[in-house]
Symmetry: C2
Subunit: 194 residues, 2 copies
């Protein structure tokens, strides 16, 4: 699948576009290549773009006062990702976004996204549905953090990000689930024996 097809398939899930609208949308995007371990965003910077991932894997995380990393989300091919709070409010981000694998992104700035909404209002629908799905996924995560067992949360992670576990380190998975790597290792051992 070409880059263009990957993004067009993503759009076609929710809206139907004319060729001129597609061309206009693509004219607003810029491509960015990110080497493994390179930063897309650092804490304190303003998140200037919403990003569609063409290839690779990125993570968004915070570092708490004790130096501990907490991963808020992963992103892989076909996912949209950014610090939406910083992106929409223009305030400095609390997050870091970096690449766990070499990555290629298509980026759109806030100004261009507003222009897109104005010129092609169908994109209001597209991003409304995208946000709707993101909101739902987050609500489930909040609930799970409160009421799921460690095992349930781990199994949910595998379901949400299929195959991701084979691509990233156990340390990253632990930082997403709020476990220590040792605890995650014990849990995986227990599950493989059950």
């Amino acid at each position: 699948m070409t880059n263009e097809e990957l993004l067009l398939n993503n759009l076609a899930r929710h809206i139907s576009l004319e060729q001129t609208e597609i061309d206009f949308f693509f004219s607003l995007l810029t491509q960015k290549t990110l080497k493994k371990k390179a930063f897309l965003l650092r804490q304190g910077e303003v998140c200037k773009t919403e990003n569609f991932i063409l290839s690779g894997c990125i993570r968004m995380y915070t570092i708490d006062d004790s130096g501990q990393e907490h991963i808020v989300m992963f992103g892989v091919e076909g996912w949209w990702t950014s610090d939406l709070y910083s992106f929409f409010t223009g305030t400095p981000s609390e997050y870091y976004i970096d690449a766990l694998e070499d990555a290629v992104l298509l980026q759109i700035t806030k100004e261009r996204l507003e222009l897109l909404y104005e010129k092609v209002p169908k994109f209001e629908r597209f991003f409304r549905i995208l946000l709707q799905n993101a909101f739902i996924a987050q609500q489930r995560r909040i609930n799970q953090n409160l009421s799921y067992t460690a095992e349930q949360r781990y199994l949910d992670f595998i379901q949400k990000y299929p195959q991701l576990e084979q691509r990233i380190s156990q340390k990253q998975v632990a930082a997403y689930l709020g476990f220590t790597p040792v605890f995650l290792s014990m849990l995986r051992k227990k599950l493989s024996q059950s």
Copy 2:
């Protein structure tokens, strides 16, 4: 402020409507009165409406296997509230929604909301922005649950829901923050002395 004004002010924050569009929107809404402790939604039921709160206070929560309540959100006058996951997917809800105070709501069904998007696409924008804000608030909460101290989470609750603490019991506040009521009481005492 009349009911109509409260909702119109809410809409006017993000979109500008013609009188015919306002009339059409209002024709799609039905009013519902909820007595204190009455349920708007029970676990296992499908959430059939998105709800705008005209007055009163509601909460959305789950009950875990040990019988413990976990409050996911509160809603007061001027807030939109529903189990969006159940509402949009038509699957049974994991949540209960009930009234902590007598409440009056304006409700719109999924079918009518889709009709609204079709007839007045500006509402795509309105609900896109609403979801955007809800998403941002949730992302902050996930991060806070992982990295904030108990004290920081309590202070954030007060900021997010001003005056709410005077309206609901400490037990409810504790169930939102994931504290025991005893722990919350100790924390409040400590803060009042500092």
